[in-house]
Symmetry: C2
DNA sequence: TTTTAGCACTCGGCAAACGAGAGTGCTAAC
DNA sequence: GTTAGCACTCTCGTTTGCCGAGTGCTAAAA
């Protein structure tokens, strides 16, 4: 399937892709010969192009149009032709980090990084919140707000702070609250969230009920809120620069544009998209390689970001398959680094 | 400017608007005569239409097209021709409220109501968070997270919960924290946020510095976070159903669509839009009446929502001037009610 | 055997031309 | 004051024809 191409074919394929990334339209043999010093005539290029098409690296929108790279073509380009520029980015990273150092709140950091990334790449950026499964609970506390309402606050070591107001029918004495806090602290803090499953929480409930005469209601509410906040599906996805898709000529078609915007409008969809990337490093999905039906004409460049060496979330961009991969790849790389660092710092 | 129209003109204007709201295209005298039993011939209608155009209630996209209502026409329609259906909505309100009763978190409530409203109206919904100026601080508390980081939590009586992680260079003893909590509680709780201005906070700082030998750093951070969260400009605006604008034929034009989407992509813009509505009840801005340049071909239907009788935020929809006003108005009315109630309940 | 020049052919896109349809304004009759 | 009739206007969709870019093939050149 993935044959080796000879030198000339590689150069031609690369030239076509480069040209197409700029022009967004089919590339003909003539233009190619003129703009790139391939030292062969258009006719020869034509023959090579026909070969490349047979092999599946190029496509022809219709007879007598130029050629357009196929998904396979892009895949080859990304895997074999792209030399990742090991640019010296330390300076950049430092600069951006300093610029955003005053952001203390994880949500703010994420949405700012989404914006940053989209501005750098001119594509729409996607970032998922740190996922709860690999987070540890750092702090749980109930605070009394009013006679019959409590505020439940919990903080994870990935810096996520959640809070819920719990309304009770009943009044809870300060003593009981303080007892509860100590108890919950003991039983929950420093635990991996993945371990706080239904069974474990149930066992806590029983124990608590026997020790304090708490109404079941409190625990139910507590339980719901608590569980709800951490369930796997509930990771939020942040979007940045939605309007950049408008700049892409492939979405000048109204129907396509609508489809795309609808996808970006649905949170479940976004979550599906970004969770379809399973790897731990930087991953690229090109066109048909995507699992999600509605983005099979898009490419995804996604990196994992880390907090104290744990893979906690994803950050990436989505755009047309005709994407400026080199630039995008290094941007995603950089920003994923920065994101991890900023969150680490902010969450102590 | 706003003359009285005779009976026949009113009926014709109303018919044109109704028809245009359905068809989204210019209405001719013939169609009107056929579909509405106006008991006059097309020729007569033509004469009336010419009059209405002279008066500014109608517009003609070009000679020999039908007429289209102008902003002024819609204004007249909304003010004089629309009889607000005093439908019995108590049942609906109850139902929806029950449906969403389990939402405890103000942000969730808001974003759900934005979705709900957009689904009901099929236009894009805008909702602003409860504004801080009219909120009272219900609870302030510092919790220790780790040796040198604190979590600052504050809750307003409008149910907004804010939290910030504060990193200190220095370690703070539990005694000091508890002293601080008591002090801040004393000085800040139950105060109107509008009163917590720079002067007041400065005076606190001085007092605190003299009593505890707190590093200035803590207070600075505290102060920044605290102030930042409450500053007037920082009210978030929630969007619901962005993709509904895609269904409006007036945005089938790519250029217009792009412009609109760009507006909705910018948070400051949204904030400007929704804050341009100053009234306390339900307000309608039609086309040119809007202050914000980029939405001068849109209409806005916005209501204020209340928490314990204080006007705290706005909720509304944005769509083409050709809007289904009656339906939209009652939907916005209902949902603004529900929103206020839900938040009131959730925040105790 | 590989490369190239030449040539006929194909197709999309654009602009001009055209007719149908919907609508108007005006005039004159009712 | 209302209506019928008519000439006129303008948009929109369709058709037509043409240009340009590009291809594939063949035969000649290297």
């Amino acid at each position: 399937m993935v044959e080796e191409l000879d030198q000339r074919k590689r150069r031609i394929l690369q030239a076509i892709i480069q040209e197409h990334i700029i022009s967004a339209s089919p590339i003909g043999s003539r233009t190619l010969a003129k703009k790139y010093s391939l030292d062969v005539s258009p006719a020869t290029i034509r023959n090579e192009m026909a070969d490349l098409e047979d092999m599946g690296y190029l496509e022809q929108p219709h007879t007598s149009a130029g050629r357009v790279p196929s998904d396979k073509g892009y895949r080859y380009y990304v895997d074999k032709l792209l030399r990742r520029e090991e640019q010296d980015v330390n300076g950049i990273v430092k600069n951006i980090e300093e610029l955003y150092q005053n952001l203390q709140n994880v949500q703010d950091i994420i949405s700012n990084m989404a914006k940053m990334l989209s501005n750098m790449t001119h594509y729409t950026a996607l970032v998922s919140e740190p996922k709860s499964q690999v987070s540890r609970l750092k702090k749980v506390e109930l605070m009394q707000l009013e006679d019959n309402s409590l505020l439940l606050v919990f903080v994870t070591d990935t810096g996520m702070v959640n809070n819920k107001i719990i309304n009770l029918g009943q009044n809870l004495s300060l003593r009981k609250i303080s007892y509860l806090n100590k108890y919950l602290s003991d039983k929950l803090e420093n635990k991996l969230l993945a371990d706080l499953d239904v069974d474990y929480l149930n066992s806590l409930e029983k124990e608590l009920l026997s020790r304090l005469d708490l109404s079941l209601e409190l625990f139910n509410q507590f339980y719901n809120e608590f569980e709800g906040a951490f369930e796997p599906g509930s990771v939020k996805v942040y979007l940045g620069g939605t309007s950049y898709i408008l700049e892409q000529p492939e979405f000048n078609d109204l129907k396509r544009l609508k489809k795309m915007l609808k996808v970006l409008d649905q949170e479940e969809m976004l979550s599906k998209i970004i969770n379809s990337i399973s790897g731990s490093g930087l991953e690229i999905k090109i066109g048909q390689e995507n699992d999600v039906e509605d983005i099979k004409n898009c490419s995804l460049v996604v990196a994992t970001y880390y907090i104290s060496n744990r893979a906690v979330g994803k950050i990436g961009v989505i755009g047309p398959t005709r994407m400026e991969y080199p630039r995008v790849i290094s941007s995603v790389d950089i920003i994923s680094d920065i994101l991890g660092n900023l969150i680490s710092k902010a969450s102590g």
